[in-house]
Every structure is written in C-alpha cells, then in structure tokens.
Symmetry: C2
Amino acid sequence: MKAAPSLDDLARLARRLADAAAQVTLPHFRAADLATDDKGAVGMFDPVTAADREAESAIRAILARERPNDAVLGEEHAALEGKSGFTWVIDPIDGTRAFISGLPVWGTLIALDDGTHGVLGIVDQPFTGERFIGINRPGGGHAMLEHRGCSRPIATRRQRALGEATVFTTAPELFTENERAGFEAIRAAARLTRYGTDCYAYALLAMGHVDIVIEAGLKAYDIAAPKALIEAAGGVVTGWRGEDCRWGGRVLAAAHPALHAQALELLAGIDRD
Amino acid sequence: MKAAPSLDDLARLARRLADAAAQVTLPHFRAADLATDDKGAVGMFDPVTAADREAESAIRAILARERPNDAVLGEEHAALEGKSGFTWVIDPIDGTRAFISGLPVWGTLIALDDGTHGVLGIVDQPFTGERFIGINRPGGGHAMLEHRGCSRPIATRRQRALGEATVFTTAPELFTENERAGFEAIRAAARLTRYGTDCYAYALLAMGHVDIVIEAGLKAYDIAAPKALIEAAGGVVTGWRGEDCRWGGRVLAAAHPALHAQALELLAGIDRD
C-alpha cells in the first residue's frame, strides 16, 4: 500500500492539473474563431466557451486516474462524489468575460479542500506565465509566485489601514442594491478602487499590491482557490458577516486581520437582501 | 544634409523610446518600496511615481539627441516647442493606478503627430512583453503586435453591430452626470461591458477583441497613441460629436465605421455639461 500523499505531493499534482488546463485554454485565448454560448439566467451576458468545458475535462481526466477517491466540484461539469474526504474545487476559466475580451486577468482556479478548509489553492494565468500557489497548512502556510522558471515567496502587505487601501471588485453592477451600499461604504473609506479583474485581483492581494477584494454572488469554485492562496500568504477571507465563505456567497478578502476587522465593521450596517 | 527620415525610420526610433521607458518602468513595477505622490486636484486619488517621471526623462533624452527640432508633449514634464512640424506625444505610464496595483494593463504611450494627424502610435506593455504599433499612413496604414520576438499584423474586427459589441471603459466614476448618461446608453445597447483597463483596452480594440472604448476627460497624451494605433488597424476614433479628439476630451473608439456611427447616434441625445 502506498503512503498517503503529502501536501507537497498534492501541490505537484495540482501543478500538473494547471498545466493540462493551460494546454487547452491558451490556444483558444484570442483565437479569431472562439465561439461563445450565453448561459446567463439573470439577464446578464454570461459566456461560456469550449475552452472552459474542455479545460475542466482535461483536469478531471487526470484526477480520475490519480485521485479516484476524491470528490470534484467544478463549474462546467456535474459534481463528483468521493470517499477520501478531499474535494478538488475547480474553475477552468475564472473570468470568461475577460477571456473572450482578450484580457489576461482570467485564471484557472484549482483548490483542494480537506473537509474543514482549503489546504491548497492555485491561481494560474498562463498568458502572462504567472502561477500563484498557496500551501495552506493550518498555523503555518506559505505562498509563492512561479513565473517563467523562477519561484519566489509572496505575502500580503500588513501595514495599510483602510484609508490607504487599494480595493478591487469586478463590476459595481454585480451587487444587489443592499450589497452596493456595502461596497460603496468600503470604496468611500479607501484610497483607490479598481474594477474588472476577476481572480487576478485575489492574486494581487496575495502578492502584496492590493489590500481588499470585495465581491458578492460567488460560487465555491470562484473563491476556494483564492481563499486558500490568500490565507497561505497571510490574509483573511470571509463572508461579509465574518462567516466561512469557502462555499461561496459574499466575500471580503483583506491583506491582514486589522484591516479585515475595519472593513467588516463598515459592512455590519448593511441589511441582508 | 541627411535625407528626411521615413515613417519606418521614425517607427524604429519610437521602438527605441519604448525600450528606454521599459528599462525604467519595469524595475519599479511591483517593487515593494515604490513611493506614490498624489497629484489629484479634483478630490480623486491621482498617483504619480518616480517611474512616470524618470521614464519620460529617458524618452526625452533620446529625442533631444535624435530629433532636436521636434516638439514634445508629455504628461510629466513641460511641453517643448519645435520647428519641424512634428510633435511627439508621450505618456510614460498610462494607467498609473493599475501600475501601483501590480496590474499589467498600464502602458507606455508614444505617438508622433505630423501637424494634421497622428502618423505613428505605440502602446507598449513591457511586463507582458506586448508592443502594439500602428503606422498610420493616410489611406493605407497597418498595425502589428510585437510579442516575445514575433511580429504579426493586427486589425480591428469589422462584423459586429452594437448589440453584439464588447465595450470597455476605465471606471464609471470618471464620467460627469451627463457623460454617465451617454455611457449608460452605450452600455445598455451592447452585449458586454468591462471596466478597469486604461490604455490596454485600446490595444485590445486594435487587435480585434473589443469593439468600443468610451471615455471622457482625456488629455492629448492619453489618446494620441491609441488613436493612431486604432486608425492604422482599421478603427475609428473621434470625440462624442464626431470631432477630432487627438488633443483629448471625450473619446469614442470603435472597431469599424458603421459601429462608430451607431454609437455616435446614441450619444447625440446627451447634453454637454
């Protein structure tokens, strides 16, 4: 019987998954003939492409061979139950709107959940060649950026209060009216707010250039990998009430605990929809 | 006496200017100790860094040697008059907010105006290694993307009407109330709207992935290079009334003339502020 794989072994496997996804996504990125389907149910254009579906299939094919007892939760195909206690949480292309616009702020998200929290998170941007990896051991994680053959440790920045903070969100239209009030309270208190970055904003937070990312309406596959990455890099990621958000919902990611507490306080006044 | 330089000679010089700027900007990009000053006069954080100032100085030093009779208009230093009839229009870092957030959608903008129109435009993104160049000969321009040693022709996409269009702008807050109404009319009619991309949106339009970029409050150095690039790639760039916008103002860039006309019509109902 084989020894149970270490977290480092699992991280090596996760890198193979990201490589397999990149082989599918990159040829479609900026291809003239990329077709998009609209899966938007709420009146907003929500594109999906062959690149999304095929990249997730490529990841699942490897997992079926290497980790047949693990559960798989992905955006594009049906959830797969497991019996190991581990769940792979996958978004083959987070930011499909960016992808079909030629903008390299989309990413392949791969997380591994051990039943209590995310122990591993990858945000992979194959066009720029940046792979952000968080090994999220409880009480002692570490995160790194692998870029063109080099690997370096990354960490969130710890010194900024809300008044000096840089805040990112994807688009103000994605909030409900109540959520918009919460976002506006954060925006008014912060120094700089930027839009339009999908998962790349979480990677920038993990590497210390952005202080807060605030979003709503997320699914597990949108947030599992960024959350594990940011926690491994020293940040805090919860729901808007401080609750566990690894299965989705409203998300507040902050570079350090004091900043997170400061932002949560502003959101406390916002009613639930 | 030397022969007058050809447009191709001037394009080679422009590439040297972009190379010189990249040598200054890249070491500052994502540097932990990058200091920012706030030059915002209107209550909005408007950062400038040593990277902006030094990159423009590096460009000007080359122009002073190679093109001493040309005028220079840049964002960071005083305008320089010339006597050749040519003006170099330069923004060393367009998108300083993106730059200080670690997000590679900023660019170095270099344009050459011959007194009647922009004959040359470069949008350079040195982190991704993408250099977009438009050689804008009246009646017969061409544009290319130079990326990691390869050069390929690029062109705007010609087939989409407004209902299928992808629209980009930097941030909805940058519009006045009247301008916001114009932007919302375009947004409501289009299929997909994205935020937060600064000059990179114009490059995506030039290479055929984005159909409209709409902005307001631009300066000459924000738009001169994108305009020459997009025109060389087959697009149309004017003010919101169809007027020449190469010295700044409200800008509507579109991938082809029919789409431009369709968008202009929606903006015609908007009052001036």
